[in-house]
């Protein structure tokens, strides 16, 4: 019994040593293959792109919106036949720059105020936030109306007159030109209702539709420069 017990540990130590040598050799061989046969650029890409579905743009301030929030905010539930509210938007270039809050809205953000919402009636005029109301308000506040290719700081979307639904000619959204302007595109920053403030490409919020299939934010109609 004692003899048997004294020889068995010796045999196990030998097996363990062989196993350890094999593992170290295998690891070293894999390391050599990785270092010498995979180009360094691709090694970086594999790490940096993990979890992303397409080539990311250089990141502006903020972080890419999570899949969960993107689905909640930018993609509509049924019965929207197209299942999208913002069909041009792409999650991997939708950057969150401010937390979801009802403390302020897009109009407040566009006017440089983040401590309370700016309700359309505050534009004055008809009290409903028509294109004319906003145009008169902005020019009265020292902004100059410019064209879309001009040097604008603030822009507004509106439902075109004659559209189906009851909101035609009403301004529906506002944004500022983002401090980030990269990769050859125009980027904007806007507060999405009571949701996050985001940075997107200028065209990402175009062609939006609501759950009834009608225009949601409408078209970009007013551009202003702050003098």
């Amino acid at each position: 019994m004692t003899k048997y017990n004294s020889t068995k540990p010796n045999r196990n130590e030998g097996e363990t040593a062989i196993l350890a040598v094999s593992l170290v050799t295998g690891f070293l061989m894999l390391l050599v293959v990785w270092m010498f046969f995979i180009p360094p650029a691709e090694q970086g890409v594999q790490i940096a792109y993990a979890g992303l579905q397409e080539t990311p743009t250089p990141a502006p301030p903020g972080s890419v919106m999570s899949q969960e929030r993107f689905e909640a905010i930018m993609i509509a539930p049924d019965p929207n036949e197209n299942d999208h509210w913002f069909p041009n938007s792409v999650r991997t270039r939708t950057y969150v720059t401010g937390a979801a809050t009802s403390t302020y809205n897009c109009f407040a953000w566009a006017l440089g105020w983040i401590y309370s919402p700016f309700e359309p009636s505050y534009f004055g005029g008809s009290g409903t936030g028509t294109v004319t109301d906003v145009s008169n308000y902005m020019t009265g506040e020292g902004y100059t109306e410019v064209t879309s290719d001009g040097d604008w700081d603030v822009l507004f979307w509106a439902i075109p007159s004659g559209s189906s639904g009851t909101d035609d000619d009403l301004v529906k959204h506002a944004a500022t030109r983002s401090s980030y302007q990269g990769d050859g595109y125009v980027w904007i920053e806007s507060k999405m209702g009571a949701n996050e403030r985001i940075v997107t490409r200028l065209t990402d919020l175009d062609n939006s539709i609501n759950v009834s299939g009608n225009p949601h934010y409408g078209s970009r109609v007013l551009y202003f420069r702050k003098d």
Binding site: A72, I73, M74, W85, S102, N105, C106, F107, A108, L111, G112, W113, Y115, S116, P117, F118, E119, P120, S121, Y122, F123, G124, G125, S126, G127, G129, N136, Y137, E141, D167, L170, K172, H173, A174, K191, M192, G193, A194, N195, N210, V211, H216
Partner: protein
């Protein structure tokens, strides 16, 4: 036999007991009504706030003008309280309670129909829409009669066009508290203000007029009768002098 003198004394005694009691009873009823509307308003606001706090109840979470927050029966329950609820809404704004301020601002604006144009610099100075509405309610609304007279005089002589439209918006933007002055103008024959009454009241008289089945009556006469029958719902208590 009872002397006439005794009867007179008794009458005076009864009058001294009953009449003050009646007056105080009336005051109590009025105060009770105020308390009642305030309680109902607070409950309605709390229910509305709870309802819209659930994202599932907001049809459009990216709506920047908060229209989605108003498409539900809880908001309409507040609207149904009418002008008497404005005092309570202001009270809740001043308390700065748990209710999101923008909900109180929305409810106040949609009932009062008061259009307050706010510049970005004013926003910071008076504390946003909340500050503007409190200031108007507690101070500036005392001048509503003068404002109406001024806006009316600016609007009426203008010929049709953009200038007249903008002048009309200024008059309409005075809100529902200007209704007694508009009614006087209608009484004097200005039927152009009938549509303004509809705007301020969310078409309450128009609906009643369309359902009218009695003797044929002109729209003007119907609106004037409607006003006499319903004005308590559309009048605010005058400001207390301080």
């Amino acid at each position: 036999m009872i002397q006439p003198k005794t009867i007179a004394y008794c009458t005076i005694l009864v009058a001294l007991i009953v009449i003050p009691d009646g007056i105080s009873g009336g005051t109590e009823t009025s105060e009770q009504a105020d308390t009642d509307i305030s309680k109902r308003c607070r409950i309605a606001v709390a229910e509305w706030a709870e309802y819209v706090s659930d994202p599932k109840n907001i049809e459009d979470p990216t709506d920047s003008s908060f229209e989605s927050h108003m498409k539900n029966r809880y908001f309409h329950a507040i609207m149904d309280l009418g002008v008497p609820a404005l005092e309570s809404l202001i009270g809740q704004m001043k308390e700065g309670n748990r209710t999101p301020m923008f909900l109180l601002e929305l409810a106040f604006q949609r009932i009062s129909k008061r259009v307050i144009k706010l510049s970005p610099s004013e926003f910071a100075r008076i504390g946003g829409g909340r500050g503007a509405f409190i200031k108007w309610w507690e101070k500036d609304r005392a001048k509503i009669g003068e404002e109406f007279a001024e806006c009316y005089e600016q609007w009426k002589p203008l010929s049709e066009g953009e200038e007249k439209l903008q002048a009309y918006y200024r008059l309409r933007g005075l809100g529902v508290l200007a209704m007694p002055y508009a009614i006087e103008k209608i009484r004097d024959g200005d039927n152009d203000l009938l549509d303004t009454i509809d705007f301020w009241t969310d078409k309450a008289p128009e609906k009643a007029f369309s359902e009218h089945k009695g003797e044929p009556v002109s729209r003007k006469d119907f609106y004037l009768t409607w006003w006499e029958e319903n004005k308590e719902h559309w009048l605010a208590k005058p400001l207390r002098s301080k």
